[in-house]
């Protein structure tokens, strides 16, 4: 069975600084996708970034980038120039390519950005 682990229940960072959220996953498969979702206090689930496992290049979306280490099964999220609006729960998620009906989430990391 596939599992996703986020070992940091809470993180904090000062505005304009950089923070990295950790995620590891476990699977015996080689073809999958990884995502980071953000859930602000409004409760919406918002896609932050995604990574295809077959791509070696790390995905980047503006201030958000990932460090994807396939061999280590690690998928960390780096937020640069943190903003107050980045305060949210962040969820790492995983889906197998041949089983695209089941997105598995980690337990989440609560990020607080301080002014």
């Amino acid at each position: 069975a596939q599992t996703v682990t986020q070992s940091q229940p809470e993180m904090s960072v000062q505005e304009a600084e950089t923070v990295t959220l950790s995620c590891t996953y476990d699977t015996s498969e080689s073809n999958y996708y990884l995502f980071w979702y953000k859930q602000p206090p409004s409760r919406q689930m918002i896609l932050v970034i995604r990574q295809e496992a077959y791509k070696q290049q790390n995905a980047t979306e503006n201030r958000f980038s990932v460090n994807f280490q396939k061999a280590a099964k690690s998928f960390s999220l780096k937020i640069s120039d943190s903003q107050l609006g980045d305060t949210a729960m962040y969820f790492c998620a995983f889906i197998l390519i041949h089983n695209t009906d089941k997105l598995i989430f980690g337990t989440g990391t609560r990020l607080q950005v301080f002014p």
Binding site: Y32, Y33, F35, Y37, Q39, S42, R43, Q44, M45, L47, R50, E52, M89, F91, I95, L96, I97, N99, T100, D101, K102, L103, I104, F105, T107, G108, R110
Partner: protein, 113 residues
């Protein structure tokens, strides 16, 4: 304009009651889901439907019955509500292929008293 809309936003009810949560998506997606987010914020899939056909049922009690009248709708009916059913329920949809992310509704906070 809302892509995935679910109603109601909040639902407060007593134990033993039966309630429904409705979900509609206007994205033309084939697959729809229900996820449950517990008090610790853990998100777990409950059901997925593809073109009105049940694909995943994650050992959810049979008090929970999803119904998909067409591929744009996936409603969740819950019988004999229990205290432990209190949670936020998210509807989501996705097109074919796992690289397309799920589009979530804004969630329904269910409180059972």
């Amino acid at each position: 304009d809302t892509a995935v809309s679910q109603t109601p936003k909040y639902l407060v009810t007593q134990m033993g009651n039966d309630k429904s949560i409705k979900c509609e998506q206007n994205l033309g997606h084939d697959t729809m889901y229900w996820y449950k987010q517990d008090s610790k914020k853990f998100l777990k899939i409950m059901f997925s439907y593809n073109n009105k056909e049940l694909i995943i049922n994650e050992t959810v009690p049979n008090r929970f019955s999803p119904k998909s009248p067409d591929k744009a709708h996936l409603n969740l009916h819950i019988n004999s509500l229990e205290l432990g059913d209190s949670a936020v329920y998210f509807c989501a949809s996705s097109p074919p292929g796992g690289n397309s992310p799920l589009h979530f509704g804004n969630g329904t906070r269910l409180t059972v008293t």
